[in-house]
Amino acid sequence: MADQLALSVNGASHLVSASPDTPLLYVLRNELKLSGPRMGCGIAQCGACAVLVDGAEVRSCIAPLSSVAGKQVTTIEGLAQVWAQKKGLGETEAASTLHPVQQAWIDEQVPQCGYCQSGMIIAAVELLDRNQNPTLPEIKDAFTNKPPSPHLCRCGTYAAIIDAVQLAAKTMNA
């Protein structure tokens, strides 16, 4: 049942041995040892497993491996690199620079437990990619009404997330 499938994750190509129906999340975590995306609900209802596929948010807990063949997958482990490429940063600067969204999450001290924050960061990166200056209602809308489900945080860090998205927008536009 296991096939050899080519996969591009965080800029690197991988050949993984897995059945094509395996959800991407299991491959990222168990085969590629990327623990950023996390198992939440397993049914695309919470957002903890979110990754970017060709820049668009995808819930990796239900996305079969076959659906990402030939596409670029980005997890939070690869965000700094995405930013460095976008800004054309040199090697030294790139090594010490986080993606502004991640930096904003630190500067604003967002986590409570932090379990959902990987998915929240992915959603924020996607939002700021299509809307450089989101208003408060637009931020709330993006984290709540965008299919397939709201991004849920049980600790209740929504206010901190909003602060961080706004800070990141400011840095990215600077």
Binding site: M1, A18, S19, T22, P23, Y26, R29, N30, K33, L34, S35, G36, R38, M39, G40, C41, G42, I43, Q45, C46, A48, T75, I76, E77, A80, L98, Q102, W105, I106, Q109, V110, P111, Q112, C113, G114, Y115, C116, Q117, S118, I121, I139, K140, D141, F143, T144, N145, S149, P150, H151, L152, C153, R154, C155, G156, T157, Y158, A159, A160, I161, I162
Partner: protein
């Protein structure tokens, strides 16, 4: 060092000695190791000294010659910022920066103290003393080295200076191995199933004595918004979470759960080896699991096996819609706890000219973490067991696992790693996937990782039980409350049994039914009061397996009882025609409460008037606005909340538009982390007030996904305004939980303000609100 004596009269002198017998590897060389000493007191069972006390591994604190400081605590970071607070508290006493401290948390083989992780006050009190004892020892070393009296020394950021010379702490301990023994009391963890929670206590070891601590007025570290240490790792993917543990030869397991909470196994579905060649099924009584080296194969095979597995049907639950009726029908004996003067209160109420009575209630709710339970266990043939967990009580879990596996507790090691917030469900060390993993590892002889699904977590983890409270008060001529009587009825709320052990028929801790009075009394002007709490066993506790297990959740007991008390105070204020804030001020002389009430009211621009609003009505398509208040005293903290809501009678939709939350928790350790805790707590409180309700039929929980168990989303979050009052003279207070408890009564009061209809049950769902607005007779304004 000064010999001090604690209140019980025994000597609690810390001792500083050179230890020749410890071999330290690597470049660390010398250091000061702070370890524990149980005072020699006869006749106290707690005097058992852990065998490993003399090992540097269990030291509480280490000052190393490279100037690094390692602090070990059995407490853990549960998201509320303990890792920042603890480091700040101990850094303050040591006169160093918190960044120089590395915290090692939660592992039972390398932390000394145990205890549950929500206990900031006991945890911080311990670390403050550990720091203070160590600081005195360091001063002594410096005075010797500099040949000056201690009073001549000054210390800044870990550098001791006198007479023109300076030494860093690392230099004071260089090439020596110094052992500072500090006095502690408490019981080492033990297996005691009859304790109800499997361990001896929640606070772990307690540091004794009264070492000189730094005056609050000189604080430089406590009170500043230092960052929480773990955040960079969490946002870059570097943190190792408990779900990330992978061991060589490890099997992934998925559990096949019974059809209902009391089902027994009839037959296990066949495993199709052609489709799932490396999977296997393990069964022990009613515990059924599918294991595979490949996680996705375990998931797929478990689904296939589950669909063909047969269980008996059980129907020992009343159905969630009949919960109140069930509580009412129960034959209650004496209250499990009672506080107040029964005879005086009953007489006063019998003769009162004016009384108000009401009944308040709430259904079962869930802790509902975003990450379901997950655990890894490695149980060896020699009986040793290592369990990787995110429990909030590592030593409690260790005792639970030892009990279930029937191995000595010394053979069990629990390693703690970050994971999703638990909100109290692992306070007693039980529940969770750890039991499943340990049992399966013992049966297979291999390391096993068990990942619960969300559905399984919502259906099989313990729940915060529903409750009903009857409350009555008498009013004097001015409308003030003179006498108050309350009776709180709920179910088992300390069931720490491990699901896997129950299903497998293996030894479990034993739960004690009963409930407790959790309110801290705010209204000293109400002279006569009687509070009673009654607890019944789990729903369906007659079943051969589990029934509906109950366990505590954030601000336990007080969240529920404060809802009833504050709701009644709001009703009484309305009856008296007095503004609800003014009404509270009429019932207290506690200056801290008065101050936080005023500060919060100012921040919310509160204009006094009685509730309900003159324009209150119960029909129409136009939204109505209302506002309400609630207060709470908890763990040396004073809370005040003001809710502003919008109610649309036609649809029954309630929105909380703004919440102003005030808090005086004594000396604030970290204003920014506290603000995050307060704002986050409001989200959970609003969620509970508007949305959360666990639904079950006669045999099982049916709200088993996020579309059926709804929690607050970002778009539903109100604007939150936070007011903090820090006090230098009142010690530390609890601020990490508590916010959630202040929200529901304030929101219910705001609903009344808008509609003139009392909301005596939460959640205020559109369906319930619609019934309420159609049914209850209107209150005259």
């Amino acid at each position: 060092m000064v010999v001090k004596t604690d209140r019980s009269g025994f000597s609690i002198t810390p001792t500083l000695t050179r230890r020749g017998f410890v071999t330290l590897g690597g470049a660390l060389g010398g250091g000061l190791f702070v370890s524990l000493q149980f005072p020699a007191l006869s006749g106290i069972a707690a005097q058992v000294e852990p065998a490993s006390t003399t090992s540097h591994l269990v030291s509480w604190l280490e000052i190393r010659q490279d100037n690094t400081i390692l602090v070990r605590t059995g407490r853990t970071e549960i998201g509320t910022g303990m890792s920042a607070y603890y480091a700040q508290v101990i850094a303050e006493e040591l006169c160093v920066q918190p960044e120089s401290i590395t915290l090692l948390m939660g592992d039972t083989d390398s932390t000394p103290d145990g205890g549950y992780s929500a206990g900031l006050l006991s945890g911080a009190a311990n670390l403050r003393k550990v720091g203070a004892y160590t600081y005195q020892a360091l001063l002594g070393l410096a005075a010797d080295k500099l040949s000056v009296p201690v009073s001549a020394l000054s210390v800044t950021d870990g550098v001791v200076s006198a007479a023109g010379k300076s030494f860093r702490y690392g230099e004071l301990v260089q090439d020596q191995q110094l052992d500072l023994k500090i006095p502690v009391s408490g019981a080492p963890p033990k297996v005691d199933p009859t304790s109800g929670i499997g361990i001896a206590g929640l606070d772990g070891l307690v540091v004794l004595g009264d070492p000189p601590t730094k005056p609050v007025s000189q604080y430089k570290v406590v009170g500043k918004s230092h960052p929480m240490p773990g955040i960079p790792g969490k946002v870059t993917g570097k943190t190792q979470w408990s779900c990330d543990v992978i061991l060589p030869g490890m099997l992934h397991a998925r559990m096949v759960r019974p059809a209902t909470l009391g089902s027994t196994l009839i037959s296990v579905g066949a495993l199709d080896k052609t489709r799932f060649p490396t999977a296997q099924v393990i069964t022990k009584q009613n515990l059924v699991a599918v294991l595979s080296p490949n996680e996705w194969e375990a998931v797929s095979a478990a689904r296939s096996v589950a669909s063909a597995t047969k269980w008996t049907e059980w129907s020992g639950l009343p159905g969630s819609e009949n919960l109140t009726q069930t509580l009412r029908a129960y034959k209650w004996g004496a209250p499990s706890q009672s506080r107040g003067k029964a005879a005086d209160v009953n007489t006063a109420l019998a003769h009162a000219s004016r009384t108000i009575s009401a009944t308040y209630e709430q259904p079962y709710i869930k802790h509902a973490p975003i990450g379901p339970f997950v655990a890894v266990a490695d149980v060896r043939a020699d009986g040793t067991a290592t369990v990787w967990t995110h429990s909030a009580n590592s030593q409690g879990l260790r005792a639970q696992i030892a009990n279930t596996l029937s191995v000595p507790i010394e053979k069990v090691v629990v390693r703690w790693l970050d994971h999703a917030g638990q909100f109290g469900r692992t306070t007693f060390g039980g529940d969770g996937a750890e039991g499943d993993a340990a049992i399966l590892s013992q049966l297979t002889g291999k390391p096993v990782r068990v990942q619960w699904t969300l559905q399984e977590d919502l259906a099989w983890s313990a729940s915060s039980p529903g409750w009903v409270e009857d409350i009555t008060c008498s009013l004097d001529g001015r409308g003030c409350v003179t006498t108050l009587r309350s009776a709180f009825y709920s179910l088992q709320s300390t069931d720490a049994r491990i699901v896997g052990a129950i299903l497998a028929g293996m030894p479990c801790s034993q739960s004690k039914p009963g409930y407790w009075i959790a309110t801290e009394w705010a209204y000293d002007k109400i002279e006569n009061r009687l509070e009673e709490a009654y607890g019944m066993p789990n729903l369906g506790a007659d079943s051969p397996t589990t029934g509906l297990r109950g366990n505590i959740m954030r601000t336990p007991g007080q969240r529920q009882q404060n809802f009833a008390l504050e709701s009644l105070m709001n009703e009484a204020a309305s009856c008296a025609g007095i503004d609800p804030i003014q009404f509270r001020l009429l019932h207290t002389t506690d200056q801290r409460l008065i101050d936080i009430i005023h500060a919060t009211a100012r921040a919310a621009a509160w204009e006094p008037r009685p509730a309900p609003h003159p324009g209150a009505r119960r029909t129409g398509v136009q939204p109505l606005n209302g506002r309400g208040v609630a207060i709470m005293i908890r763990e040396n903290s004073y809370w005040m909340g003001i809710a502003e809501v919008e109610v649309t009678p036609e649809t029954g939709v309630v929105r909380v538009t703004k919440f102003t939350l005030g808090l005086d928790c004594g000396k604030i350790i970290n204003p920014r982390q506290l603000e995050r805790c307060m704002k986050s707590g409001v989200v959970m409180g609003v969620s509970e007030a508007l949305k959360e309700e666990l639904v079950f039929d006669k045999g099982k929980i049916t709200s088993t996904s996020w579309s059926r168990y709804k929690i607050l989303t970002m778009a539903e979050m109100p604007e939150v305004k936070v007011v903090q009052l820090s006090r230098d003279d009142k010690g530390f207070g609890g601020g990490s939980e508590g916010a959630n408890a202040v929200c529901p009564p304030a929101i219910a009061a705001a609903f009344f303000d808008a509609t003139g209809v009392h909301a005596r049950r939460i959640p205020l769902t559109p369906a319930y609100v619609t019934t309420l607005l159609k049914g209850q007779p209107p209150v005259r304004s």
